[in-house]
């Protein structure tokens, strides 16, 4: 199933935003190709939720612009977007069936048959009040609501965080079936690397409101390496290529942007975890800098 990857589903250009004195996003730019599954990775407070809200058109950023399938994010782009925030806006007093009926009234592109099937797959009892559902079930219902809109772009803020391991597999299964079946573009935020491997084609690493890495996962893994050696050897590396370096006693290890071996150091290709940790730990604002190691 070759997906069309030419059109940008999401185009974030120079986006900056502040909450009072606190700068949440700073000159963020990246593109999400249509049909891709992208992980938005960052520590708590890195700006993931703010960025997703801007992409969903729920927050107008102070600077820069966000486009969704070519449209400026806002009212015009809303029908194309399925957004599930961390606090799913569901009404606790409504039953599952009433919630789905409400979705049908509020969304012009609502697919009622699909909503019912997804709710059945998720074993959501139609007569149960939303407020009585376990957190995992509630998260499933929020996802059903987003999917039944038949969105072209799905924005999910930590969709797996409230889920137990079984529900996690079920939800990723439902998501990936959607991707395989309809080529839906997905952007999901997470800070659990294990949730990303094999799920996401692309990754955007956010730290202190800035984009540190925006890349195809396979390509990023093939163009970085982890060099291991004596601190003096690692310290002698070209500083501009070093993403992050750490010294433990006389040994040092560095994540290096390079497809080729560097110097005479032992090296291996990073695992996804090593790659992401390297970028998450990289000192800001720019990873390009000379490191000095003992």
């Amino acid at each position: 199933m070759p997906f069309e990857r030419t059109e940008a589903a999401l185009d974030v250009a120079g986006v900056g935003h502040s909450f009072g004195p606190r700068r949440a996003l700073d000159d963020c730019s990246f593109v999400v190709p249509a049909g891709a599954v992208t992980a938005l990775v960052g520590r708590n407070g890195a700006g993931k939720s703010t960025l997703l809200r801007a992409a969903a058109g729920l927050l107008r950023p102070d600077r820069g612009r966000v486009r969704v399938f070519g449209e400026v994010a806002g009212d015009a782009s809303l029908p194309a977007i399925g957004y599930v925030g961390q606090h799913a806006p569901l009404y606790p007093m409504l039953t599952v069936a009433q919630t789905l009926a409400l979705g049908g009234r509020l969304n012009p592109r609502w697919d009622a048959a699909y909503a019912r099937r997804l709710a059945d797959d998720a074993a959501l009892p139609s007569g149960a009040r939303v407020g009585t559902l376990a957190p995992g079930r509630r998260a499933r219902l929020a996802l059903v609501m987003a999917l039944a809109k038949r969105p072209g772009l799905l924005l999910l803020d930590e969709p797996l965080a409230p889920l137990d391991p079984v529900a996690r597999t079920e939800v990723t299964g439902a998501l990936m079936a959607e991707v395989a079946g309809r080529g839906t573009t997905v952007v999901l935020s997470s800070h659990v690397v294990a949730d990303i491997d094999g799920v996401c084609d692309r990754v955007v690493v956010l730290a202190d409101g800035r984009v540190r890495l925006a890349a195809d996962v396979d390509q990023a893994l093939a163009t970085h390496l982890v060099a291991v050696g004596a601190g003096s050897e690692v310290g002698a590396l070209d500083g501009t290529a070093i993403v992050e370096a750490r010294a433990v006693g006389r040994d040092a290890t560095a994540l290096v942007r390079s497809a080729e071996p560097v110097g005479s150091l032992a090296w291996h290709r990073p695992t996804l975890e090593e790659l992401l940790l390297g970028y998450l730990r990289a000192p800001g604002p720019e990873p390009e800098r000379k490191v000095t190691l003992a």
Binding site: M1, A174, A194, G198, V262, R269
Partner: protein, 133 residues
């Protein structure tokens, strides 16, 4: 064919898919002509990106183990090198060895390391980790 993905091992998911198909073919659980599940089926069952499944299948195809037939799916190739007749005996010998190794205090990881090292012999460049010269 049901894939079991372990997300804690650190082994990339597509590598796990490749290894499990190889293993199933080697052990005779998959035989020539058998169809692999579609990328969509694996995506839904195991929660894996369809592109990751296709990447694994492409690698198996390049290795000559499976073939993609236009419009109908991915199948285990005919005329694979036949399993040796004495596979059962080799397996029993290994089981006896594993029992001795366990008695000697080795755990599974120790045994795997030992087998990998012996099997690799002195061949350099096995795996993509080495000391550059």
């Amino acid at each position: 064919m049901i894939f079991r993905i372990d997300r804690r091992t650190g082994t990339a998911v597509y590598v796990q898919l490749v290894q499990q198909v190889r293993q199933a073919i080697r052990m005779g659980r998959l035989t020539p002509g058998d169809q692999l599940p579609t990328a969509r089926e694996v995506s839904e069952d195991a929660g894996i990106n369809p592109n990751t499944v296709l990447k694994a299948y492409r690698e198996l195809e390049v290795a000559g183990l499976v073939e993609a037939r236009q419009g109908s799916g991915t199948f285990v190739r005919e005329h694979l090198a036949p399993l040796p007749d004495n596979l059962g005996r080799l397996r029993r010998e290994l089981a006896a060895w594993a029992a001795r190794a366990r008695a000697a205090g080795l755990d599974v990881t120790d045994m795997q390391a030992l087998v990998a090292e012996v099997a690799a012999g002195t061949v350099p460049g096995a795996g993509e980790a080495r000391r550059a010269v």
